[in-house]
Amino acid sequence: MYQYSSVDQRLVEERVVQFRDQTKRYLKGQLSEEAFRPLRLMNGLYFQTHAPMLRIAIPYGLLSSEQLRKLAYVARTYDRSYGHLTTRQNIQFNWLKIEQVPDLLADLATVQMHAIQTSGNCIRNITADHMAGAIEGELEDPRPYCEIMRQWSTLHPEFSFLPRKFKIAMSGAQNDRAATQVHDIGIQIVRDPSTEEVGFRILVGGGLGRTPVIGKVIRDFLPKKHLLSYLEAILRIYNLAGRRDNKYKARLKILVNSLGIERFTQLVENEWRQLKDSSLTLDDFSITQFRDHFQPFEYAPATSGKDAIAAKRNNSPAFSAWYEHNTQSHKVAGYRIVTLSVKAPQQAPGDLTDVQMDGVADLADQYSFGQIRVSHEQNLILADIAEADIPALWRELVALDLATPNIGSLTDIICCPGLDFCSLANAGAIPIAKQINARFDDLDYLYDLGEIKIKISGCMNACGHHHVGHIGILGVDKKGEEWYQITLGGSAEENASLGKIIGPSVPKDDVAETIAKILDTFIANRQDQESFLDAVHRLGIPPFKEAVYG
């Protein structure tokens, strides 16, 4: 993974000093609440319902074991011994004391971590495929380019006060696990069909929130060396022309829609012509240097673990279920990618205790080259596990309560903090996840259903990505009561689509029951082993609506 140079290190340290001074001035009353607000947000600090919340960046979701141990330390020292994984591959701590935040940041800086640009109207943490570098069929590993973009966007002087937040995601694989079509800028690594050169397809103006939009292609093929100049052109047009009079109309998607993609493309291309061969151009040497940080590990020759796995599967149905659902094939024979379910039935989706963090850090050191990934689906991944180690790893994960065999199933729920923590929420999200877990506790039934992604947001801001859930659940406030609107058929992957509302919202206590009716309808109408998403797309909303509302 990327290792900081002394220059990178000094920058995060100086950022701590800068923020310490800003916090001190705020606490002394020299900075008003209003003046401090953009400064603290730029460093990921929110004032939430109960206490200040700090969001810490995990660039493209990649952590070293040392970093994860430091997060465990932070959870113990400054919080109530747990943290929350977010849908942008970051981690949040919910119970902090403002006076301690500068010290916390200083601790993080010792392991090359920070909270820079995890909020505010600037370029946010850049996300990537959480299986990058390990998955089969990837054209190229996106992470070197994510690191290039991370550096370029960090403290960017021109783009620190954009009309609104700005999110970039990148994917290099056939299956789009990075949701590139629902980002302000989505970047897909592609091969130019005529020259065979590898470069980027650029999408703009996707996003969720109040007005969900699927991104549009602005450039089919961009040579690698122009990545930053092209991004700079898009950002500059957005910075100058994006709306600032209404925060709900300020995202890039609104500008792209109002100008039309042709006109927006023309503006960007004109701007880009002027920036194209500037100092932003990436030369082969620097690209190689970044790629060197992400070289494949020295995988041991495939001492097959297949026999051990087969034997274990024979005598342990629990292991067998876990193996089937929570592991998948690796690009190197003899290895597997293992997803750690942070979705145990009793737990808030994505919540991780300090003990779990320390435990996973140790397992990463022992079995997975000391690295861990965070997925936007709020799970952890150990991406490089030798097959022979799989049974032992499973036992350890069971002990850490990170082996619930539910990845990709109905209970692998994506969920925002909702009313329990977030001051913007209309309704709870975590209690709904718990209600669904309680109602659907028969694993065999879940396996029969196949892949179903439930995504829950506590308000229109859509941090839980409900629009792109196969089943989306949005909390709404009806005269002070929590109600839930349900959508079906959304997806954030290569077949991206937005879910459709099935009808009027349902009361809190009825959510799981409503889902049960939807699932019964699916089972009754399913053709062969059709997936839930395919069935919804084939059948449309009416049969589901009929089943729910009669």
């Binding site: 000094r10 100086e14 109207n121 370029w152 960017h156 002087p157 021109e158 006060f161 910075n239 002027q274």
Partner: protein, 150 residues
């Protein structure tokens, strides 16, 4: 009251006079800042003003319209109606980097010490800080970092 302007790292008193929208243009050898619309509408008169000339831009004005006059201007002011409205940063970079404007580029409006390091890196070399800012401390906010990625 003489306003203090942070120029480079120094605090200096401002010797420019800012002209209103309808005030007659004085025929004196004086340093005058014209509102952008007047500069365009009364171009002949403005450009022939015998003293130093400056233009005050709103952050919605198109800087390209000043392109042919840049050699005549000793000062360009860009307004920040709010510290979190970042359009002025792009205007500044275009003026400096694309059009090669060399003279004073001044940030005015809601200019706060915590923005100085960003403004400076976009090419501003003068700052009319908002009245409530600790101007004497301002120079130390210019360089909080020893280096940057951009």
């Amino acid at each position: 009251m003489a306003d203090l302007i942070l120029k480079g790292e120094l605090l200096v008193t401002d010797d420019w006079r800012f002209l209103d929208a309808d005030e007659p243009i004085p025929n004196l050898e004086q340093s005058l800042v014209f509102p952008f619309t007047r500069w365009l509408d009364e171009h002949e008169q403005c450009i022939n003003h015998p003293g130093h000339k400056g233009v005050a831009l709103e952050n919605t004005d198109c800087v390209t319209r000043l392109l042919s006059d840049l050699d005549e201007l000793q000062l360009i002011c860009i307004d920040f109606p709010s510290a979190v409205d970042g359009r002025g940063y792009s205007q500044a970079r275009i003026l400096r980097e694309r059009y090669g404007y060399k003279n004073e580029l001044r940030a005015v409006g809601e200019v706060l010490v915590d923005q100085l390091f960003l403004l400076k890196r976009c090419g501003f070399n003068a700052f009319a800080l908002q009245a409530d800012q600790m101007v004497c401390q301002a120079p130390k906010y210019l360089n909080p970092f020893s280096s940057y990625y951009q």
